[in-house]
């Protein structure tokens, strides 16, 4: 084992891997699944030890020896009582597993919920696209919201007194995708023509990582999910920013003109401008996101520059083509994008 492997193992022991493992749940929904998983693991662990034990013992104990007497061992054709016994035992185990599965199933599968005033619940419609996530914020705390963002889902955390669940309505804009943030709950698919539901809540602020879990084409691997859970105050501040109109900065008027004069507007949206496309991420508050390219790279000037120049150097196969703009045009657009806070 090399030093790297050793440090990884140590990190696992120290709980660093708790950042991603399904066994470190941060929501009651993920927790219920862990309870079931640990129970099931215990049961199959015991079965494993018993059966492998019998197997290894039998092969070792009854292996042929050189000085065995000639002739065949006693032939045992079967035994009805024994067969019945080892049919009944697994049947009982299966019955028990069905019961606990049912309990967890009824706990974690989301039932439809309507927004109500004062219930502190967040409603978001998630639309999966090749290869990014669109978030349409519908309502929070009974207040109607109407803005669109991409790739980073923000949600408020609950506390001992108030639960602040997020209710997701999952839809697809093209092919099948799957929403999976392991520490917050199980995955639910986004299937064209259907609306699926997923609900979870957490009391632990932080960044939760996940990614698309249903193969959806060339860039399936880089369709990352980031869920930012923050205090209610932080979340309100974020809401206030997202609902505000796009920032107008006269210093980048040229960049804005270049952006609006090119194909960018066919797919992207910047609210309050002529750009009203809905095939690609909404850029109105682009700079409020930590990453671009569906969570793949940090939202830095150099990465934006690379993306505008040729997105395929970051994400080969992505649907946005390289437009072949002049260097000056690219710089103008990047400077414009940098003002969209």
């Amino acid at each position: 084992m090399d030093a790297n492997g050793l440090s990884m193992l140590l990190a696992a022991v120290e709980g660093r891997m708790a950042d991603v493992s399904i066994f470190s749940p941060a929501s009651p929904q993920a927790g219920w699944i862990v309870d079931l998983a640990i129970l099931a693991l215990a049961i199959i662990g015991i079965i494993f030890l018993v059966v492998e034990g019998i197997l290894f013992y039998s092969v070792w104990r009854f292996r042929r020896a050189k000085n065995d007497a000639p002739g065949e061992p006693a032939q045992v054709y079967g035994s009805e009582p024994i067969e019945i016994a080892w049919t009944a035992a697994p049947t009982m185990i299966v019955f028990f597993l069905v019961l606990v599965t049912t309990r967890t199933l009824w706990q974690v599968e989301a039932a439809p919920v309507q927004p109500r005033e004062g219930d502190q619940a967040l409603f978001v419609t998630v639309i999966g696209h090749q290869w990014w996530w669109e978030y349409r914020y519908d309502s929070y705390d009974g207040r109607k919201l109407d803005f669109i963002t991409a790739n980073e889902l923000h949600m408020p955390v609950g506390d001992g007194e108030t639960q602040r669940p997020v209710h997701l309505t999952l839809q697809s804009g093209d092919v099948c995708h799957s929403f999976w943030v392991p520490r917050l709950g199980g995955k639910v698919d986004l299937i064209p023509g259907r609306s699926n539901l997923l609900a979870f809540e957490t009391e632990q602020p932080g960044l939760y990582l996940g990614q698309c879990a249903e193969y959806c084409g060339a860039q399936h691997a880089n369709m990352m999910l980031r869920v930012v859970a923050e205090t209610p105050a932080e979340f309100e501040a974020w809401l206030a920013n997202e609902t505000a109109p796009a920032v107008e900065d006269p210093a980048v008027a040229e960049g804005k003109a270049t952006f609006l004069a090119n194909s960018c507007v066919n797919c992207h949206r910047v609210s309050g401008t002529a750009a009203q496309g809905d095939g690609a991420p909404d850029l109105t508050h682009l700079m409020s996101r930590e990453t671009i390219a569906a969570g793949q790279v940090p939202n830095s000037r150099s990465n934006l520059r690379k993306w505008v120049h040729d997105p395929h150097t970051i994400k080969p196969g992505v649907l946005m083509p390289a437009f072949g703009l002049s260097t000056e045009e690219e710089n103008q657009i990047v400077e414009y994008l940098r003002t969209l806070k």
Partner: protein, 556 residues
């Protein structure tokens, strides 16, 4: 039945013997036009082994790409083609044909028949399966292999999202080879039901025949929905139909139901014949009769039936409903009961026996010790909420490779080591067999064990790259190293198969002191299998011959 001693009747059917005695051109003509179940069986197995090597190379290329995070070895498109072709190849052109091939060769011999019920259909089935495989691979050669996954979920396969002709090659190839599979299934059923030696009632057929019978019924019921789905996707792509096109009123969901209505029984199609093979090998190498034959046969039937009602456990995450999720979870868990019965019966057969760990039994030991783990992780995945977390993660990849390699492959190797002397008249090298076994056993644990961990750490399937920050690197590297440990084991196996044809110790007719009918004829068998029609009184006709004082039929 009286027989005439005629040299023609005793012509040996080995490939090398044919080629040596008649020249390669004559041998080629003989093999391409043959309707002899033994030659067809051999061709099925050889075809599968070639595809096994191809599928293995595809796997190694994928593991190379995943060794380092953000590696740039092959890129997304080639990677996506590789996992599509790897899955398709292993299921359709390795797993099913190798089992059909072994069944083809052995069943008539074990039943005391001279050939399969429909020899021409048999030849047709082989050739059309081979052509199906070639058609799918033709797409690779033309640079347009499909990038849709072996499960080919709509609407990613619709023309809107996939202009790649590879998908059409893929659908046509599977459609064609599926016709061959259905032909094989019909043939097995007719042979087992209608071609048995006198005295061999259904309660006396070798256990392998029971499993082939139920597998054949599964094929008959499972392949047509796939065929229908493939026709529908071809209609969508080529003729502008909208079966799976949501924008025009089709259903993306429909494909999933049709595909998994085939796809789940398929798993049992790939494991039931193996249950049969190890049920032949374990008794012989434990020197005991198979424990609980009737219960084993009933459990086989139960698995075949229940497996037709569990398909949507591949769809727990599509948002069916709690009630449906519960039904499919419960039905899937119930499969573990008959499987458990089988397992305990194998253990009971070994218990109190006189176990010889020669190569066929060694692989049975590998099968028993490893298949158990695949089955147990299957129980976890059947518990639907657990599946919400881990479906489409590497945990699932680990699970089903554990079933298909720890189960199907180890069991199939047991069968090949067991019957090779009968087929070729030569023994395989035991020394090479042990190298094959241990490299495969260790490499396999090292490859697929870490996958369970990377799945628990949130790694989805079918991703061509991953970020170093996700902590999956170490587990992926272990997996790749495991694949490299496995690789030489296959090379040793293939070398053993070829070299032993010439250098192997000549085999006697009954080298393992076994009990079923195939061991009464010569090794290799003459083209008519038996000089005289055997007459059967029990499940172990050779036991009766070897122990006239204590024949089996008094206990059955």
């Amino acid at each position: 039945m009286a027989t005439v001693d005629h040299p023609q009747r005793l012509a040996r059917s080995g490939i090398a013997a044919d080629a040596a005695s008649r020249g390669w051109a004559a041998a080629l003509h003989e093999w391409t036009t043959t309707v002899d179940h033994k030659k067809i069986g051999i061709m099925y197995v050889l075809m599968s082994l070639v595809f096994l090597v191809i599928g293995g190379i595809e796997a190694l290329l994928m593991r190379w790409q995943l060794f380092y995070p953000r590696a740039e070895v092959i890129g997304p498109n080639v990677f996506n083609q590789l996992f599509t072709m790897h899955g398709t190849t292993m299921v359709f052109f390795v797993g099913m044909p190798i089992l059909i091939g072994i069944g083809n060769y052995m069943l008539p011999l074990m039943l005391g028949a001279r050939d399969m019920a429909f020899p021409r259909l048999n030849a047709f089935g082989f050739w059309i399966t081979l052509f199906g495989g070639l058609l799918v691979y033709l797409s690779f050669i033309t640079g347009a292999a499909p990038e849709i996954g072996w499960f080919a979920y709509a609407p990613l396969t619709e023309h809107t999202f996939d202009r790649n002709a590879g998908t059409d090659f893929w659908a046509l190839g599977l459609l064609i080879s599926g016709i061959g599979t259905i032909g094989a299934a019909v043939n097995f059923i007719a042979t087992i039901l209608g071609m048995r030696a006198p005295g061999m009632t259904m309660r006396k057929i070798p256990f392998f025949a029971w499993t082939m019978l139920w597998t054949s019924f599964q094929m008959l019921l499972a392949i047509p929905p796939l065929t229908a789905a493939l026709v529908m996707v071809l209609f969508d792509r080529q003729l502008g139909a909208h079966f799976f096109d949501v924008q025009n009123g089709g259903s993306a969901y429909l494909w999933q139901h049709l595909f998994w209505f085939f796809g789940h029984p398929e798993v049992y199609i790939l494991i039931l014949p193996v249950f049969g093979m190890v049920s032949e090998v374990i008794p012989v190498f434990s020197r005991k009769v198979l424990f609980g034959y009737e219960f084993m046969a009933a459990a086989t039937m139960a698995i075949a039936f229940i497996s037709l009602g569990v398909w949507a456990h591949h769809m727990f995450c599509v948002g069916m409903s709690r009630t449906l999720d519960l039904y499919f979870a419960a039905a899937s868990l119930i499969v573990s009961i008959p499987t458990g019965i089988k397992f305990f019966n194998w253990l009971a057969t070994i218990y109190g026996g006189r176990v010889s760990l020669q190569s066929p039994m060694l692989f049975c030991f590998g099968f028993l010790s490893m298949f158990l783990i695949g089955g147990l992780t299957g129980i976890m995945l059947a518990a639907a909420p657990f599946d919400f977390q881990l479906s489409d993660s590497y945990f699932v990849v680990g699970h089903f490779h554990w079933v298909l390699i720890g189960g199907t492959l180890f069991g199939t190797f047991a069968g090949i080591y067991y019957w090779y002397p009968k087929v070729t008249g030569r023994m395989l090298s035991e020394r090479l067999a042990h190298w094959h076994f241990w490299l495969l056993y260790i490499g396999f644990i090292l490859t697929f064990g870490p996958m369970h961990v990377s799945g628990i750490l949130g790694m989805p399937r079918r991703i061509y790259t991953y970020d170093p920050s996700r902590d999956w690197e170490w587990w992926n590297q272990l997996t790749t190293i495991g694949a490299l440990v496995q690789t030489p084991s296959y090379a040793i196996f293939v070398y053993n198969l070829i070299a032993s044809l010439w250098k192997g110790k000549p085999a006697v007719d009954d080298p393992w002191d076994a009990w079923t009918l195939e061991w009464t004829t010569s090794s290799p068998p003459p083209s008519y299998n038996f000089e005289t029609q055997p007459i059967v009184h029990s499940r172990r006709p050779l036991w009766d011959l070897k122990h006239p004082d204590d024949p089996d039929w008094q206990y059955e």
